[in-house]
Symmetry: C2
Subunit: 457 residues, 2 copies
């Protein structure tokens, strides 16, 4: 970070002094994502100047890494020839990502400048539903035929490899584009017999994903098998593209962020935090805040119902926040753990029995430990230390008993709801702290007042 900051100011000074050849010398040693990061902070005037200093291939690679605003700005300033040059260097999947973000007039300019073949591929990828394997794949892979020899395969790789996203996994296809197997570049390179056939080298038991598979599943499959790329096949089992490990990595990060966002009671953002406006943030946050606030009507009603009891033992009110919070925290520990385990594929609905038993035993231990500590705390701190006469043994006992029951119930609800949500097709991540807290609040109050009424009145 520090390094980039210094480099950035050096570059800016050089640009301002119009020392373009030095700027170019620095830029060509850099990586595309570092260049894009530096371009983020340039002015609208500096950006096109700096961009035009880059050699063609580096320009295209850096363009792909830039934020949408900069991409749009550059495209609007490009001549048709410049646009074509950048697009020619780009992979199909990256082009699709850009097309998806741009306004209609920019998109039509892009589609006019790409080759007819690429245009067909772009349109095909765009047809797949968002977040499906088809939508994140690229159509640029190396295909070989089974009868080829190793040296013929090398020749083909040499001829067609430049434009392919990976040349390290080659796919062996039948004449009808059916996937017969794969050969790794490693096995080709390590093969001593140049005349060995691809058929004899290929691995025919290939894991494939369907174009419609959710991108999260695709990423998980790729990571599970430690693959560099996964072949994507259509419903008629014809190979249509590949998903590469770098895209799978991005998907995994993106999906974890989405889960975390939903778990905190927000709808997922499109953009990074710093690029999201307060108005956008508001729109993503207010729905759940509103729903949860309205749901709190129940807790209000429960308290109103016990108003007369509370008027007699006002001290009972003092323990409401502690009981509610501990219940909420206990419940969200369980729900968040289960949500993540579902997300990672470690737990599924069929495990519900095991999960409930495990959580029940854990909650008993937590509940007992907490209620003992709670009893001691109430008696010693609230009773003795602060000399509160209304804190009697029976009050402390009611609070501690409620504590234990609340923790057990909170954990049981916390572990069950995400599994049930998954089963009936909802996103389990919704069943995290905010949601669980609201339910547990109401339940803990009901338990509290029931116990207090039974013991104290």
């Amino acid at each position: 970070m520090v390094q980039n900051a210094t480099l950035e100011s050096t570059l800016k000074t050089l640009v301002e002094n119009k020392r373009y050849s030095s700027v170019k010398d620095i830029l060509v040693t850099m990586n595309p994502s570092d260049i894009a990061a530096i371009f983020d902070d340039l002015t609208e005037e500096q950006l096109p100047i700096m961009f035009r200093l880059l050699p063609k291939a580096l320009a295209a690679d850096s363009f792909v890494e830039m934020n949408t605003d900069n991409q749009e700005l550059l495209i609007k300033g490009f001549s048709d020839t410049e646009l074509k040059q950048v697009l020619d260097e780009m992979y199909v999947d990256d082009t699709v990502d850009i097309v998806e973000e741009m306004p209609a007039n920019v998109v039509s300019r892009i589609l006019k400048q790409v080759t007819p073949e690429k245009r067909r591929d772009i349109n095909e990828i765009l047809r797949y539903p968002e977040n499906s394997a088809g939508s994140i794949m690229t159509t640029e892979y190396i295909s070989l035929s089974p009868k080829m020899t190793v040296s013929e395969a090398f020749k083909r790789i040499r001829e067609t490899g430049v434009d392919k996203e990976t040349i390290y996994t080659c796919y062996v296809l039948s004449s009808f584009n059916r996937l017969l197997g794969l050969v790794s570049a490693k096995s080709l390179m390590l093969e001593k017999d140049e005349n060995a056939t691809i058929e004899s080298l290929m691995q025919s038991n290939v894991i494939t994903v369907n174009t419609k598979m959710d991108q999260e599943e695709v990423a998980k499959t790729l990571s599970k098998y430690n693959f560099m790329a996964l072949p994507v096949v259509d419903s008629e089992d014809r190979m249509v593209g590949i998903v590469t490990f770098d895209d799978a990595m991005d998907v995994m990060v993106q999906e974890a962020t989405e889960d975390i966002t939903i778990m905190s009671g927000q709808t997922p953002y499109e953009n990074t935090y710093l690029r999201t406006s307060p108005w956008e943030l508001f729109k993503h946050r207010i729905p759940w805040l509103m729903i949860l606030m309205i749901s709190a009507t129940f807790t209000g009603l429960i308290i109103t119902n016990f108003e007369s009891a509370l008027a007699v033992h006002v001290i009972l009110t003092a323990f409401i926040p502690m009981l509610m919070d501990t219940g909420g925290n206990s419940g969200s520990q369980s729900s968040v753990t289960i949500i993540r385990a579902i997300s990672l594929g470690e737990v599924e609905f069929n495990d519900i029995g095991k999960v409930i038993l495990k959580e029940f035993l854990t909650s008993l231990m937590c509940g007992l430990a907490l209620s003992i500590a709670c009893f001691a705390k109430v008696m010693l701190v609230d009773g003795l230390l602060f000399q509160n006469a209304s804190v009697t043994f029976m009050v402390a006992f009611s609070v501690s008993l409620t504590m234990c029951l609340t923790v057990v119930i909170a954990k049981l609800i916390g572990c069950t709801l995400p599994l049930v949500a998954k089963k009936i097709g909802f996103d389990p991540a919704v069943m995290a702290s905010p949601f669980i807290t609201t339910i547990v609040d109401a339940l803990s109050l009901l338990i509290y007042f029931a116990i207090a009424t039974a013991i104290l009145f």
Copy 2:
């Protein structure tokens, strides 16, 4: 899953009927991680039988993917020769992972069976601190010298490539093991001149990581640049190993899980959920539950202080849960968002001004919307619908005003604490819902009672 389940029962039946040649035929078509998953559910008797059916290389690959208990069980049953066979096929980093999990007597057996060279590498990797680049790297990479020609490089790859974790990125080293640059297998394969030197093809501006760098940073760097592997150098800039994309992927998933676990008020688990015992779960959950429960003493004290006021307007108690929950939810929306943004490297301490401004504007909008809705809800639902005479205009006004102020303060605290934690070297993930809720609870009560006292008395 269904597929594996059926396959598993088929395999089990075949094993029980001692149809080992059929079992073998099925197993050899499978992937190591699928085999490991099936082995998970075998009995202690079946496991060694099934394992011995696997061909050497597949056996080693499957062994790596198994859970620790099964690995230990198998090693204990292995003859020295069998153990050596498996170890010979394994990469150094995988061997280290296993060594780290095994009891001392098993470790010493393993170290006795590996080659002296591998033993040295294992011991070197074990010296690095947990979760550092050094601890997750492998020492098996392809090194080339700058004066080699392309055909000499191919020869070297062919001779040494079999045992290397990746042959697709080759590292060009000086005679002192200093990293001069890298060449991709792609550029070697696409090069038409067999006599071109490696020096002329190599990319000399290489991104490296230090052995001590945190694994999370390593994974982020690899993902940022879309690299297949990252070279690891020691403090004297000598190349010591590589971290490959598949390990980086695992690190990213693991770190996201760790963040999520901490955010829900738990200390991170070692094992998967289903393999963690209730007693283990208890130990990971009770510390924060205890701390947060004790902290709730403050909210109790605040309420006790206003006992007399609450005795006059008992209705005020009914709104405590709603105010506390909405405050908690608002705060955790902000804190969780910032924690994730810090984790992804999108936000750092220097952005604190921008973050506070953004959150302040967002919280004003959320606060206003919620307090208007809250006012309407209190007047219409609690006042009119449930005919509660104690719900006056002034009560509704006090509650709504508190609502707005609580939301603003909750969001400001929620966004500031994670950044401050990061700055002073604490884990920002601790500053999530449970922690924020406890602080916001106390503050919201203070605001509530201050406003209520001013308006109602």
